[in-house]
């Protein structure tokens, strides 16, 4: 598991679990907020198959946070306007970089990965049911 896996898969777990672990880390370690949750945008480049170039297809609203956990910076970015969980995700990112609670964080990420996989499988089953079978024609 890489540190880069945290940001997406933590979002796939229950926010309460993230907050609980983050609160525990904050109680035991020095956590400092370097950048409070702030609404920003990401410009979205889209591959253009007609000339192998790209163009900007719009912007994505995101919220990002930067914290410091025991001298290690932690960062998290989520889509849309939610500002509560993203702070705690940044704490977990910083904790991971500091070597704190790595086993518990990895467990959360695994659970998020499973949740995401199950959701995708369910969606894929529904979508695959709409596949046209030309053999029957």
């Amino acid at each position: 598991m890489n540190r880069e896996d945290l940001n997406f898969y933590l979002q796939q777990t229950e926010p309460e679990q993230i907050i609980k672990l983050s609160t525990k880390i904050q109680a035991q370690h020095n956590v400092e907020t370097l950048q409070r949750p702030v609404a920003q945008t990401l410009l979205l480049p889209v591959n253009d198959p007609v000339n192998h170039g790209k163009f900007y297809g719009g912007e994505i609203l995101v919220v990002s946070v930067i914290v410091r956990v025991n001298q290690c910076e932690g960062w998290a970015m989520t889509m849309d306007t939610e500002q509560d969980t993203v702070f705690h995700m940044a704490v977990l990112d910083g904790a991971w970089a500091s070597g704190i609670e790595q086993r518990a964080i990895a467990e959360l990420v695994r659970s998020g990965k499973n949740n995401h996989h199950n959701r995708c499988c369910k969606e894929a089953a529904e979508v695959n049911a709409t596949r046209v079978n030309f053999d029957l024609m």
């Binding site: 890489n2 163009f55 719009g58």
Partner: protein, 350 residues
């Protein structure tokens, strides 16, 4: 607002706002989370035309505007201008999305298959009760996520598709700096990807009906979830931020002589939008075909092929703003018009 300067104007404006709120009855509105699931196409249209992907704000805007989609898109566009830009996400490609619907009118057998997905195309538009057949989905565990290359890649591999020359070093961002003509392709594509659906459909329709010659075949139309990734500021690694709903359309036009080597190849157009909106993506690909390929028209009036017309007239927020500004008091300018008319009439009578 000019009414503010008038005695009693502020009171009238406040009363008007109260009356508008009373009319849309915010206290009776559906919960925001339900609106996204029950009116997803409205939200997607707001997102695409507002050019800002935010489910939460799209729903809020829909409620505040009383269901006026263009007005709602205005809210998103306005909010976008208040946010600092964190950076540029990683480029997305239609081949990489998790497909929820994918069809081709050009080929029957395509790699990845024809997937109808959730669509109202197969529903009879009558108000009779339509019951579901109650079919059950089985073998969920055995089903894998669908990703597939474009159905046109096969033609590209056989060198049958025109590849337009890419003369741009970097893509233009029209939200920061609007280019002067001749318009770069990336600018046109960006404007079209956030254009107003009805305007784009209307212009594309002119070409289809005869004031142009684009009558395309849909090579690959797909909707699905695209991963949004960014760079982790402390590791420089690629981080997934989330997933967005997207629509991509590749259409094939008539064959053209390739200026590079004189060979005949098929022209193709591309459409993209945030959210799920197939009509809009198809319209964009038709306009792309019309603008970037030589066509023929009745009486030389191929307006869909005119980049000047398209780039300056399909933005819903701009055109709505210009149209609605006529509601503002023009008392002084109109008095001047009347004065000129009086003068002209008296000169004529002399």
């Amino acid at each position: 607002m000019s009414y503010v300067a008038i005695k009693g104007g502020t009171d009238a404006i406040n009363a008007s706002k109260r009356l508008f709120e009373k009319r849309i009855q915010p206290e009776k509105q559906l919960p925001e989370k339900d609106l996204l699931t029950t009116l997803p196409h409205s939200c997607d249209r707001i997102i695409a035309e507002g050019a800002l992907y935010s489910d939460a704000l799209a729903v809020k805007a829909l409620l505040r505007s009383g269901g006026d989609l263009l007005e709602a898109a205005f809210y998103l566009r306005a909010h976008r201008s208040t946010c600092r830009r964190a950076g540029i996400a990683k480029e997305i490609n239609s081949d990489d999305i998790r497909i929820t619907r994918r069809i081709s009118s050009a080929f029957k057998d395509i790699d990845g298959g024809q997937i109808l997905g959730p669509s109202c195309d197969y529903i009879i538009r009558l108000f009779q009760v339509q019951s579901s057949d109650g079919g059950k989905i089985s073998d969920i565990a055995k089903t894998s996520v669908i990703r597939a290359p474009s159905a046109l890649n096969n033609l590209r591999d056989r060198d049958m598709v025109l590849l337009l020359e890419n003369t741009e070093g970097e893509a233009v961002d029209v939200s920061r700096q609007f280019p002067l003509p001749p318009y770069p392709r990336s600018a046109l594509m960006q404007v079209m990807s956030r254009g107003e659906t009805g305007s784009m459909l209307a212009f594309a329709y002119t070409s289809m009906r005869g004031y142009g010659d684009v009558h395309p075949t849909i090579g690959d139309l797909r909707t699905g979830m695209a991963a949004i990734s960014f760079t982790h500021p402390f590791t420089d690694g690629k981080v997934k931020i989330g997933e967005i709903r997207t629509t991509f359309c590749e259409t094939v036009g008539s064959f053209q002589r390739d200026p590079k080597d004189g060979k005949l190849r098929l022209s193709n157009g591309f459409g993209f939008c945030l959210g799920h909106n197939e009509t809009r993506a198809i319209s964009m690909s038709i306009l792309d075909l019309a603008i970037h390929n030589q066509g023929y028209s009745m009486g030389g009036a191929d307006i869909a092929a005119n980049p000047e017309i398209i780039i300056n007239h399909i933005d819903g927020i701009e055109s709505m703003g210009f149209t609605n500004h006529f509601k503002l008091p023009h008392y002084v300018t109109f008095q001047a018009d009347l004065h000129v008319l009086d003068k002209a009439r008296s000169s004529c009578s002399d």
